[in-house]
Amino acid sequence: MKYVDEFRDPELIVGASREIRRLADPGRHYRFMEVCGGHTHAIYRFGLKDLLPENVELIHGPGCPVCVLPMGRIDDGLFMAAQPDVIFAAFGDMMRVPGATGSPLEHKARGRDIRIVYSPADALKLARANPDRHVMFFAIGFETTAPSTALTLLRVRAEGIRNFSVFSNHVTIIPAIRAILDSPDMRLDAFIGPGHVSTVIGCRPYEWIARNERKPIVVSGFEPLDILQSIVMILRQMKDGRAEVENQYARVVPWEGNRAALKAIGEVFELRPYFEWRGLGFISQSALRIRDSFAAWDAEKHFLTPGVRVTDPKASQCGEVLKGVLKPADCKLFGNECTPEHPIGALMVSSEGSCAAYFNYEHRKSELVTVSV
């Protein structure tokens, strides 16, 4: 209970932890997946595992957009960056993610014009400031960031800007959950639903999980108490024999989602027939591509993208870790060849990737203990 002193309401935390112990049937093993990488980060950072009984296991889900992006898409983006007069703009999270020919940061060192932006609106600003260059924005993220890309493209069209394009790598969370549930080696009892994705899509898209799969799903906030309360809500459902969608994060997430954001996504994007996810393979209708009406700003059309397919390094087991079949430390490369300083897989790059989270909190903790002994 290392971090309990820092918590806003330590007594509530301890109360929730006791309630979880009271509700969990000691005769069974529970496997709950937290879908969102932000939750994975919080669970490790706050040592929440120490507040759960042994038989309540948290499985880390696919909700880290950098982590699920197949390597070939990075190489496609870097191919675009190598074309004449191109500025490659991407979020900072992307910069150290390795492609087969190196990361964007390494390509920058080799002379490519690669810039970090913190908003798609700023990528557009780069295009306005550099009319003789072409700015390609490497768009990534779930439904949390897709509306911002969509709104930016609506603005680009309204302003008639020509030297700007978007390489869409936006993905959608529901098909990924479905793929995980369909996977034969996956056994899950319930889901901790993503918080910020749900501010956009609302809670209705999860109803099939409760209705058809008979599994509880509780949309959760990111504070330690939020996550523990969500686990309490799941265990209560299971005890009562219920399977429902519940919203623990109602202070931020409206049941119906954000209509303006959904409308912007629908105007600009359509579902791809299929898209490759790192570790999960091809999943049908799981990603967003730019509609034909915005083709003039679609980097995949503008650049005749090579469509590079790169298989992950053989020794790495990112796929198994992503699906929750393996724990990060069980991967052969974990902590040896693959570390946050020298990542081989994307799960080690992002602070929301389960390998980086595990390395930074669990692995370093055990190293410290070893050193002090």
């Binding site: 971090y3 820092e6 806003r8 990488g37 932000g38 980060h41 919080a42 950072r45 706050f46 880290c64 957009p65 950098v66 979020f91 900072g92 999270d93 920058k108 002379g111 490519r112 014009d113 690669i114 810039r115 970090i116 932006v117 913190y118 908003s119 798609p120 609106a121 700023d122 600003k125 780069l126 400031a129 550099n130 990534i140 993220g141 949390t144 960031t145 509306p147 911002s148 709104l151 910020h196 501010t199 956009v200 990111f222 504070e223 202070r251 931020v252 997430v253 409206p254 954000n258 209509r259 303006a260 954001a261 912007a264 602070s351 929301e352």
Partner: protein
């Protein structure tokens, strides 16, 4: 990218649609408020910002808790970098590689 950063709307700007001046822990940035559904944004509203766009309204108390959470998660520095990075410095925008 996945950080949700709390801020308070100071002023709705006239230079283009849906642009607002937002105070984020003392740093003022122009933020797009075009995705706040239902009622239009107004000065005094607290919002959660993702990649430069206000995505939802929250209470003042939740805004404070969100900032506290970012600190506790060791993401305060990343959040400050993102906040100060919004809008790009014009010299950065024009500079070469």
């Amino acid at each position: 990218m996945c950080l949700a950063i709390p801020g308070q709307i100071i002023e709705i700007l006239q230079e283009r649609d849906n642009l607002a001046l937002v105070d984020i822990v003392g740093v003022r940035r122009k933020i797009d408020v075009g995705l706040l559904s239902e009622e239009p944004a107004k000065p005094g509203d607290w919002v959660l910002i993702h990649v430069g766009f206000a995505m939802s309204r929250i209470s003042e108390e939740d805004a404070r808790e969100q900032m506290r959470l970012l600190k506790m998660m060791g993401e305060h520095a990343a959040a400050m970098e993102e906040i100060t990075g919004y809008g790009l410095d014009d010299s950065v925008a024009r500079g070469g590689p």
